[in-house]
C-alpha cells in the first residue's frame, strides 16, 4: 500500500504545483495595467531577457543553417534537385528549427537566468522586502519578465531563421556552387507566408509563453536556499525543453494536419 500512498502524494504535489503555477500566471496578468504605466520596467527586461540572448541565437542560427545547407545539398544532389536547396533550408528553419531550437536555447540561457535571479531574490528576502514596502513583487518583478519573454521569443526565432537561411546560402551558393538566383527564387515561390511563416510565429509565441512561465514559476516557487535555486534552474531547463518538444508535436499536428 506504500506505493499507492506515495503515488497519491506525488499526484497531489503535482496538482498543487500546477495550481500554484496557474495562480501565479493570473497574478502576473493582473500586473499588465501597471506595466503599461511603467514601460521602463519592460524595456529593462527586454534588454536582459531578449537582447542578451541575441548572440547565442545568432551564432547557433548561422551554424544550423550551414549544416542544413551541407546536409540538404548532399541529399538533394542525389536526385538532381539541388536547386530546391533554398526551399528546404527555409522551410526547415521557419517551420520547425527556428521556433524549436530558439526556444531550447532561450530556456538554457534566458530561462535559467530568470529562474536563478528570481530564486535568489526570494532567498535573499528581496521579494519579501518589496512586499513589506507595499510593492507587489508579482506585478513589479514578474510581469515585466513574462511579457519580455513572450515578446522576445518570436523576434529571436525570426533572427535565428534569417541567419540560418544566410548560413545555408553561404554553404550552398558560396561553397557548393548552387545558383544564387535559384536559391532565392525557389524560396520565394514555395514558402507560404501564412502556412509556413505565420505558423512558425504562432509556435514561437506559444513557446515564449511556456518557457518564460516555467522559468518564472520555478524561481518564484523554489526552496529559498542555494540548493533550492540550483534545483529550480535545472528544472527550468528540463521542463521547458520537454514542454517545447511535446508542444511542438501537438502544434505541428494541428497546423499542418
Amino acid at each position: 500500500m506504500d506505493w499507492l500512498a506515495a503515488l497519491g502524494r506525488g499526484g497531489l504535489a503535482v496538482s498543487a504545483r500546477l495550481g500554484r503555477a496557474n495562480l501565479l500566471m493570473l497574478a502576473m496578468l493582473g500586473g499588465l495595467a501597471e506595466l503599461v504605466r511603467r514601460p521602463r520596467l519592460l524595456l529593462e527586461q527586454l534588454m536582459s531577457v531578449g537582447v542578451l540572448t541575441v548572440l547565442i541565437i545568432a551564432v547557433s542560427g548561422v551554424f544550423v543553417g550551414m549544416v542544413l545547407g551541407l546536409q540538404g545539398y548532399y541529399i538533394l544532389s542525389r536526385f538532381g534537385a539541388e536547386a530546391t536547396l533554398g526551399v528546404m533550408v527555409a522551410a526547415s528553419l521557419v517551420r520547425e528549427l527556428g521556433p524549436v531550437v530558439t526556444a531550447l536555447l532561450f530556456a538554457g540561457r534566458a530561462g535559467s537566468a530568470l529562474a536563478a535571479e528570481i530564486g535568489l531574490m526570494k532567498a535573499t528576502e528581496q521579494l519579501s522586502g518589496l512586499e513589506m514596502m507595499a510593492v507587489n513583487p508579482q506585478h513589479r518583478v514578474l510581469t515585466p519578465r513574462l511579457v519580455a519573454g513572450i515578446l522576445s521569443m518570436p523576434l529571436l526565432a525570426a533572427l535565428f531563421s534569417m541567419l540560418g537561411v544566410y548560413g545555408g546560402w553561404f554553404v550552398g551558393v558560396g561553397l557548393l556552387g548552387v545558383d544564387d538566383g535559384t536559391y532565392w527564387a525557389q524560396m520565394q515561390s514555395q514558402i507560404d507566408w501564412y502556412e509556413d511563416v505565420g505558423n512558425g510565429v504562432i509556435k514561437s509565441v506559444v513557446f515564449g509563453v511556456v518557457c518564460t512561465w516555467i522559468a518564472i514559476f520555478q524561481g518564484y516557487d523554489c526552496v529559498p536556499t542555494s540548493e533550492g535555486v540550483s534545483r529550480a534552474t535545472t528544472r527550468t531547463v528540463v521542463h521547458s525543453s520537454l514542454a517545447v518538444l511535446g508542444l511542438d508535436f501537438v502544434l505541428t499536428a494541428l497546423m499542418f494536419n
Binding site: 519579501s128 522586502g129 507587489n136
Partner: protein
C-alpha cells in the same frame, strides 16, 4: 515545577505565560497598544509554531521578542506584517485587524510599517541611494530634488551618507543593515520590525545598530519590535521583553525583571547557561550501559 518535553526531547516548564511586573513594565493602557495579538495559532504541517499566543506591543517603546532559534520569531513578524496568515486568532495593528484587510488596505498599512530583514534585503541591482529612494519613488510624488534631500537625510541618520553611490555588493553586513534601516524609515513609519538585527555582526557594527535602534525609536517617536536571541544587546535597548518557546509566550516583563524574577527556563536563556531546564545532554540511555552494554 511542572515540566514537559519539548520537540527536541528537552524538558521545559509547563508554559503558563507569566507577566513579571516591575515599575518599568506596568501594562500600558489599552489605547497605547499598537499591536494586539490574541489566541494566535500557526502551524507548519503538523507542527505548532504558535499555539495560543497573546502579545501586546505598546506604542512608542522597544519591545523585544526573544527565544531560542527555530521558535518562530521571524514567523511572528511575517504574521504581523500580513505576509503569513494565522490558522486561528487575530492580529491587530493600530486598531486594524491585519488579516481581515483587503490587499489595498493591507498595502496601505504596510506603508506605515518598516521592516529590517536579517539579510538587509536590499535590491542588488540598485545602489544605496536608489534603494533608499525606492519607497519614496513608489509611494510619493516628490520631485527628484526633494527625494534626494530626504534620502541623504535618512542616510545621514544611519551614518552612511558618504556611501550613497555604493552598490549593495560593496557594503559590509553591518552597512547593508544600516542602509536597509534607512530604507525602512524612508516613509516615516509608525513602527519598525527588526528581524535578528545583531546576528553575525562584529562588536562595532553591533554597537552601532544597538544605538541606532534606540535612537531612531526615541527621536522619531516610533515603535520598535526587535526579534532576536542576542540577549545582552537586546536587553540593553528593550523596554519590554517577551520570551517565547515551543509555541507559547513563557514570560514577559522588563529585561531587569526577567533577569531577577524570571523562571528557571528564562534565567537559563537570559544567562546563557549551558545546563538547566534545557539540559546540556541530548536524551540518551545511561553512559555506562551505552559504553559497556549489549550494543557495545
Amino acid at each position: 515545577m511542572a515540566t514537559r518535553l519539548s520537540r527536541h526531547g528537552h524538558e521545559v516548564p509547563a508554559q503558563h505565560h507569566r507577566l513579571i511586573t516591575s515599575p518599568m513594565s506596568r501594562p500600558p493602557p489599552s489605547e497605547d497598544i499598537l499591536v494586539r495579538i490574541r489566541g494566535l495559532k500557526f502551524y507548519r504541517g503538523q507542527r505548532a509554531i504558535f499555539d495560543g499566543v497573546d502579545i501586546d506591543i505598546p506604542r512608542g517603546g522597544v519591545t523585544a521578542i526573544m527565544g531560542p532559534s527555530g521558535t518562530g520569531k521571524t514567523t511572528l513578524l511575517k504574521l504581523i506584517g500580513g505576509q503569513l496568515t494565522p490558522d486561528a486568532g487575530t492580529i491587530e495593528v493600530d486598531g486594524q485587524e491585519v488579516h481581515a484587510l483587503s490587499t489595498r488596505e493591507l498595502y496601505r498599512l504596510r506603508m506605515r510599517m518598516g521592516m529590517l530583514f536579517q539579510s538587509g534585503a536590499l535590491l542588488t541591482d540598485l545602489n544605496v541611494f536608489d534603494n533608499v529612494a525606492y519607497p519614496l519613488r513608489e509611494h510619493t510624488k516628490l520631485n527628484p530634488s526633494m527625494t534626494r534631500k530626504l534620502v541623504l537625510m535618512k542616510l545621514e541618520a544611519v551614518g552612511l551618507r558618504g556611501a550613497h553611490q555604493l552598490m549593495p555588493s560593496e557594503l559590509s553586513g553591518g552597512m547593508a543593515r544600516r542602509v536597509a534601516l534607512a530604507r525602512a524609515i524612508a516613509l516615516d513609519p509608525m513602527m519598525i520590525m527588526y528581524d535578528e538585527p545583531f546576528t553575525g555582526q562584529d562588536p562595532i557594527s553591533m554597537g552601532v545598530l544597538v544605538q541606532l535602534i534606540r535612537r531612531l525609536n526615541d527621536a522619531a517617536r516610533i515603535s520598535s519590535i526587535v526579534v532576536s536571541h542576542d540577549v545582552a544587546e537586546t536587553c540593553e535597548i528593550a523596554d519590554l521583553v517577551y520570551v517565547i518557546s515551543n509555541g507559547k509566550v513563557i514570560e514577559s516583563g522588563s529585561p531587569q525583571a526577567l533577569h531577577e524574577g524570571g523562571g528557571e527556563w528564562t534565567r537559563q536563556f537570559m544567562g546563557g547557561l549551558a545546563d538547566g531546564p534545557v539540559p546540556f545532554h541530548y536524551p540518551a540511555p545511561g553512559l555506562e550501559s551505552d559504553l559497556f552494554g549489549e550494543s557495545a
